[in-house]
């Protein structure tokens, strides 16, 4: 699988990461090489094998429905680059 420049650009758009021109070129080659290696998986017979998402014998860990103290709002908002009236401030989400 060869990743051309346009596909790399498309993936970068999906990931919301701006790439430089040189990164686009280098990634096109490097990602193709890495994806080519993934072909070794086809040698493993996985017919009827369930996927593993994690290795613990745990499912649906439930917490008691009890209110606990959380971090103070001002301490968390102090980390944000811009806030207003206790909210995170962002540029307009819906553009014209």
């Amino acid at each position: 699988m060869q990743l051309d420049r346009d596909l790399v650009l498309h993936i970068a758009k999906l990931a919301r990461v701006e790439l430089t021109e040189s990164e686009l070129d280098v990634f096109s080659t490097q990602l193709s090489e890495i994806l080519a290696h993934f072909g070794v998986l086809n040698a493993v017979d996985t017919d009827g094998v369930e996927p593993t998402a994690h290795t613990l014998p745990l499912t649906n860990v439930m917490a008691d429905d009890v209110a606990r103290p959380s971090l103070p709002q001002d301490a968390v908002l102090a980390l944000a680059p811009a806030t207003e009236d206790g909210y995170l401030r962002v540029r307009a989400v819906l553009e014209q």
Partner: protein, 486 residues
């Protein structure tokens, strides 16, 4: 008096208990050592001297009141991937260069409760992605055994700090080998516990189904001491396992007579560096001398597929985890763009380094529509196969022994241009994360003046047996390890 900065935890604790030294003296000795060697080693992103001395004084007050504990008053270095309230936690990234967390990671909190003294935060590959600490956004760390070589990664600052006598012990994180590989390359003990053994609360997430926190130490006894302190269920991490934590130190010297040791042949390929092979053989001989039963006929046939499984699953999880860095909530924020999306793309484009972007790209691709089944789902199925092969092996063996790395430490800059060559460093460690097993790197001697690590892999939640085997390898080796000439 001997060099205070090369004491083990148990040696330091004995001197503190009998009041032969104070925690302040021990901490000052570490800070002096840091001042002396840090210009060459560069293990720390930040040294928090004032805070360390305050914690040392608090520990001395507790000692004075007759309190004792193996970690009380002993200085530690913390990988900068673990959140520390009031102390910047950068994760080796421009993205978090100014991030000061409002809370402390559970593993660190447990050390603080036990009276640990934090010396500072250690360097790492950005977001723990790398095998050489060269992906740090700030500077590379140097291997104390040869300053032109890498210390390994991603926890290279922690391993170098312990090897260089800058900290008595350290914490790191291991997603595909990031504790064991740098421990091997720096000649210290490093352990990745079973997935779920140590809380991940406050550990900056890379790949959530693979990440574990663990210790670096000068000997196996110290590693067992730290592991005992940081382990256990935490309501703040629903994937921390509700299982009992034994005292991992208690059974260390029970010996290995009758212990069934398997050596998977896929981990000893013909291409293995002959020097590394000789050191693994020596460790196996030491185990046999002490009564262990070594069988070299083990096969884990899907080992060859592990690298691909890892480089699909870890980047996929990373691409989801790192979506949180949007320039809105915290961290670096580009604000001069043409709109919200432009700001977000430029925030991530400029805040992340090349390797992080590369992995986000791999993960985004593997999870994208049309490729999900071929890559991500297939990798998860092969993950099941790999785990089953380990499970089958552990029906016949108590532990598996293997190399940690295919070679000793490589030169700084040698592999930065070829990401795939860099990934191959972790070929013997990442299957252990894929299967969620405990693994340790214990020093196995030297090749041409560079340390070699021996890996011991165990059954889930059977760290006690892993540590016991590692302790036997340590006993069978050089009693008084040489120190790097710094």
């Amino acid at each position: 008096m001997r060099d205070l900065h090369y004491l083990t935890i148990h040696q330091a604790a004995a001197l503190l208990r009998t009041r032969e030294i104070s925690s302040r003296e021990l901490t000052q000795a570490a800070l002096d050592r840091i001042a002396n060697v840090e210009p060459r080693v560069r293990a720390f992103l930040a040294v928090t001297a004032e805070r360390a001395l305050a914690q040392a004084d608090a520990a001395d007050a507790r000692l004075k009141q007759g309190e004792s504990g193996p970690l009380l008053g002993v200085p530690v270095a913390i990988k900068d991937v673990l959140s520390t309230e009031g102390v910047a936690t950068t994760c080796g990234s421009r993205m978090l260069e100014d991030f000061v967390p409002p809370y402390t990671a559970t593993a660190v909190r447990r050390l603080f409760d036990a009276g640990a003294v934090m010396l500072g935060k250690t360097n790492m590959d950005e977001f723990a992605m790398g095998s050489s600490t060269e992906n740090s956004a700030f500077f590379p760390t140097h291997n104390p055994w040869d300053l032109d070589r890498v210390p390994g990664g991603s926890s290279g600052g922690s391993s170098a700090a312990v090897a260089a006598g800058e900290a008595v012990y350290a914490l790191g994180s291991d997603t595909g080998g990031s504790i064991r590989q740098p421990a091997a390359l720096c000649g210290v003990v490093g352990m990745k516990p079973t997935y779920g053994r140590v809380s991940r609360y406050g550990l900056v997430a890379f790949a959530s189904s693979l990440d574990q926190v663990g210790p670096f130490a000068r000997d196996v006894r110290d590693a067992a001491t730290v592991l005992t302190a940081i382990s256990g269920h935490d309501p703040a991490d629903s994937t921390s396992a509700p299982v009992d934590v034994p005292d991992f130190v208690a059974d260390l010297d029970r010996g290995v007579r009758g212990l069934r040791v398997g050596v998977p042949r896929e981990y000893m390929p013909d291409s293995l560096d002959p020097g590394v092979r000789a050191r693994i053989d020596a460790a196996l001989a030491a185990l046999e001398t002490q009564g262990a039963l070594v069988d070299r006929g083990v096969s884990l046939p899907s080992t060859e597929a592990a690298l691909a499984v890892y480089y699909i699953i870890a980047p996929s999880e990373a691409s989801a985890n790192l979506a949180r860095y949007d320039g809105v909530k915290y961290g670096f924020s580009y604000r001069q763009g043409s709109g919200m999306w432009d700001n977000m793309e430029k925030t991530r484009g400029r805040g992340f380094g090349t390797e992080v972007k590369r992995r986000i790209m791999i993960g985004t691709y593997a999870l994208s529509s049309g490729y999900y089944d071929a890559y991500y789902l297939k990798a998860q199925k092969v993950r099941t196969v790999i785990r089953r092969e380990f499970d089958a092996a552990f029906e016949r063996y108590d532990v598996l022994v293997a190399p940690v790395t295919p070679t000793t430490a490589f030169r700084i800059g040698e592999k930065t241009a070829d990401p795939f060559a860099m990934y191959l460093n972790d070929v013997f460690t990442l299957p252990v994360n894929i299967a969620g097993l405990p693994g340790i790197s214990v020093p196995g001697g030297f090749v041409d003046g560079l340390p070699v690590g021996v890996q011991v892999i165990g059954k889930p939640f059977d760290e006690a047996t892993v540590l016991r085997a590692a302790y036997a390898i340590e006993l069978g080796g050089v009693q008084e390890a040489p120190r790097p000439a710094l």
